[in-house]
């Protein structure tokens, strides 16, 4: 999630490259080739060097989750007497869409729930049928996150949401409002103890993900919600009164105001500055924990859900769920379905995922069992409880860049109301045209 900016950086370049299937024109040949290649396979595989996909279950994930996924996959392989291959893919999402369409993708893919819209749009993943008993074991909004068009598409194993870290030396309390947090941080800045008061990663192109708590606390929203909890891309709330109030707040906190929010603080340095004791507080997710603990010591920091601004709404960060998906065109669907619906869908598998992927677990049983040992994760789990699932609708793709740019411009001193209105108009036009 924090990799949104850096991912976006290469996305445009790589997405286009990484896209292919059986061509726009030629249609029916795509159906013929898999069977014929399967027929040719035995003779070919004898002489050819090992090719990806030989295993009876192939799973794609990113480099960070590789060890965790490999552990649960190996267990599954042992239980079923099969071979598995787990591969770390740089651009997991786009490469998966591409490869799946071309018929040489994996059987299972692991990734964030906000991929679902795009994956479904491309017919790349299958819905899962889970029993009520299975579903009941998971955090309710994690299940909501992986639900799309009324179907469950992924099995969530971890949840992510932003929380508030503070350096105990400068901001030791548990704060009831962001104003208090900023006041404490600014005092430390004024005293020359730290360089920045509250790190919110934005950078020069902005970061809508990290700004979401501030937007929601001032009453703004991205998409309105239908009665059933799904998002309605036609109801945009950036230029709503709450959205405009948030824009004004961002301006006041920006470089022309109190200089709390700065474009020089980006995903590249936000966490590191805090971990080195050069920032009083930090808005970040569970991925920052290891660095913070290493930099400030086990007792050097506090962690709490992000409070709202005084007298305003509570801050609602985005909830992100990490999940397993069954590929629509996978070679080994049976094992893929079994792996996702049974292989990892239990306390042992989810505990392994928690231990190696280092995310707050989505399975309530595991969450409870570790709450005492790992209070920080419990805080993040609570933050996730308060959060709203990041919209998975494809329309979201039209939101990130313009909204981030608008935030960045406002921090730099652009007129808040008109900038926010512009961003909303741009997003609305893009959604309408698609």
């Amino acid at each position: 999630m924090r990799r949104i900016t850096s991912t976006v950086a290469m996305m445009a370049g790589v997405t286009l490259l990484a896209a292919a299937c059986s061509g726009g024109g030629g249609s029916t040949s795509a159906e013929e080739s898999p069977s014929s290649s399967a027929a040719a396979e035995p003779s070919a595989s004898e002489s050819a060097p090992p090719v990806r996909g030989d295993e009876e279950l192939v799973i794609w994930t990113d480099a960070l989750k590789l060890d965790a996924v490999r552990a649960v996959a190996d267990q599954f392989a042992e239980d079923n007497g099969i071979t598995v291959g787990v591969q770390a893919i740089v651009n997991t999402r786009t490469d998966f869409i591409t490869a799946n369409a071309a018929g040489n993708g994996p059987d299972v893919v692991v990734g964030a729930h906000d991929w679902i819209g795009q994956l479904v749009q491309n017919g790349a993943i299958d819905p899962l049928q889970l029993s009520a008993a299975d579903l009941g074991g998971y955090a309710e909004n994690a299940i909501q996150a992986v639900t799309y068009d009324g179907q469950i598409y992924g099995l969530p194993y971890g949840v992510e949401a932003l929380g508030l870290y503070c350096n105990k030396a400068y901001a030791p309390d548990t704060y009831a409002s962001l104003d208090d947090v900023i006041a404490a941080g600014q005092a430390a800045v004024d005293a020359g103890q730290v360089e920045t008061s509250l790190n919110v990663a934005q950078g020069d192109v902005g970061d809508a993900y990290h700004m979401q708590p501030i937007l929601t606390s001032m009453g703004g929203y991205l998409f309105g919600q239908n009665p059933d909890g799904t998002y309605n891309p036609e109801d945009l709330g950036l230029a709503s009164p709450g959205g405009l109030a948030a824009a004004q707040k961002i301006f006041d906190l920006g470089e022309q105001g109190s200089n709390v929010l700065r474009r020089s603080i980006s995903g590249d340095n936000s966490i590191a500055l805090f971990a080195e004791g050069r920032a009083a507080c930090l808005i970040s997710g569970p991925w920052a924990l290891a660095d913070v603990r290493e930099g400030l010591g086990e007792d050097g920091y506090t962690l709490q859900p992000i409070p709202g601004f005084a007298g305003q709404q509570p801050a609602q960060p985005f909830l992100g769920a990490q999940a397993f998906y069954v590929a629509a065109n996978g070679q080994n669907k049976t094992f893929a379905q079994e792996f996702v619906t049974n292989g990892v869908n239990n306390a042992e598998g989810m505990t392994t995922m928690y231990e190696l992927a280092n995310l707050p677990p989505a399975l309530t049983e595991v969450r409870q069992s570790i709450a005492a040992d790992n209070p920080d994760f419990e805080v993040f789990a609570q933050a996730a409880d308060n959060g709203n699932p990041m919209p998975a609708v494809p329309a979201m793709a039209e939101v990130w860049a313009p909204l981030g740019q608008a935030y960045s411009a406002i921090i730099g001193g652009a007129d808040p109301a008109s900038t926010m209105q512009q961003a909303q108009d741009t997003i609305a036009a893009a959604i309408a045209a698609s």
């Binding site: 991912t7 292919a20 740089v90």
Partner: protein, 317 residues
């Protein structure tokens, strides 16, 4: 200046091998001062320029080195000169099974060597034809070649992906996710060095080949035994360019090479940095330093060819 020029070869060499300004050896001090002034005027200022340029070139490199020995390895903790030094990042390069750097490095070297040799061979052949033969379509061919080279191959990545998906079904050994397949794609630039090499061929007197032909050599012999030895400098230069190009190629490699074991350093490194940019900088920097070494070594080795120049080649040949 004009009167000095013919003599500089010896005089300059003499001064520069002895430290100027030492005076000494009973030489008249005023002559030493003149000599020093002349040294500054002719050679010394060049060193000043060179040193400034080196500083400009090296600051980011020093930063990279500093980051590579920074045990914390984060962006903000890295300064130009390291305060804490540890070789942990380098050790981790070779001890982390989920990031098999050594394997990536080896893959890249193999690809680079094959592509360099093949591209140089194909390019020199074509350059020879363009330089020495007159045939219809020659001019058009040269221009077309340039035009096609202008098309960034990565724009056609979608098409290449589809193509290699098809190839992989028939011949898995050269399909997607194989080193030979990726090498083939890189061979799309087989004629990328034609223009540069041809320019150099043009500067070799045609009399050389004509004389050889009079002596009974065929066109192939002229090419392999007369011309090629003479153009070593340009082969060295272009070879280095191709080598560096292969090391830096990222976009196509990221699509073609997915299996951890067959990635190139570019894909592998980017994946690591992308996963956690602020933290993996140290690891990334250490890897970058190692990756740069072959290019530096290659350049050291090739310098004598690049610098040797054509006349030296002719004499040796």
């Amino acid at each position: 200046m004009s009167t000095v020029a013919p003599a500089t070869g010896t005089a300059g060499a003499a001064t520069s091998t002895r430290r100027p300004g030492r005076g000494g050896d009973g030489v008249d001090p005023s002559r030493a001062a003149v000599r020093r002034r002349r040294w500054w005027k002719e050679v010394g200022w060049r060193h000043v320029v060179g040193i400034i340029a080196v500083v400009y070139a090296l600051v980011p490199v020093v930063y990279l080195l500093s980051a590579s020995v920074n045990p914390i390895g984060s962006v903000v903790s890295t300064d130009l000169f390291p305060t804490r030094v540890s070789l942990g990042n380098y050790a981790d390069l070779f001890n982390n099974p989920s990031r098999p750097f050594a394997r990536w490095f080896l893959n890249t070297l193999v690809i680079a060597v094959v592509v360099v040799v093949a591209q140089l061979f194909a390019s020199s052949l074509a350059a020879y034809a363009f330089s020495r033969f007159r045939f219809t379509g020659r001019r058009g061919g040269l221009l077309t070649l340039l035009l096609i080279q202008l098309f960034p191959q990565f724009l056609a990545a979608v098409a290449l992906y589809q193509m290699f998906t098809g190839i992989g079904e028939v011949a898995p050994a050269i399909g997607l996710d194989t080193l030979p397949g990726y090498i083939l794609v890189m061979m799309g630039g087989a004629l990328g060095q034609v223009w540069l090499i041809k320019g150099f061929f043009d500067s070799i007197p045609v009399e050389l080949d004509e004389a050889a032909k009079i002596d009974g050599a065929g066109h192939a012999q002229v090419f392999f035994q007369v011309i090629l030895p003479l153009v070593r400098p340009i082969l060295a230069t272009t070879g280095l360019l191709v080598f560096v190009g292969v090391f830096g190629e990222f976009i196509l490699a990221s699509i073609f090479l997915r299996e951890t074991e067959i990635k190139t350093v570019a894909v592998g490194l980017y994946g690591v940095l992308d996963a956690d940019r602020s933290n993996n900088l140290g690891w990334f920097a250490a890897a970058s330093v190692i990756v740069s070494i072959p290019v530096v070594l290659l350049f050291q080795y090739l310098q004598k060819y690049i610098v040797g120049g054509i006349t030296a080649g002719a004499v040796k040949g």
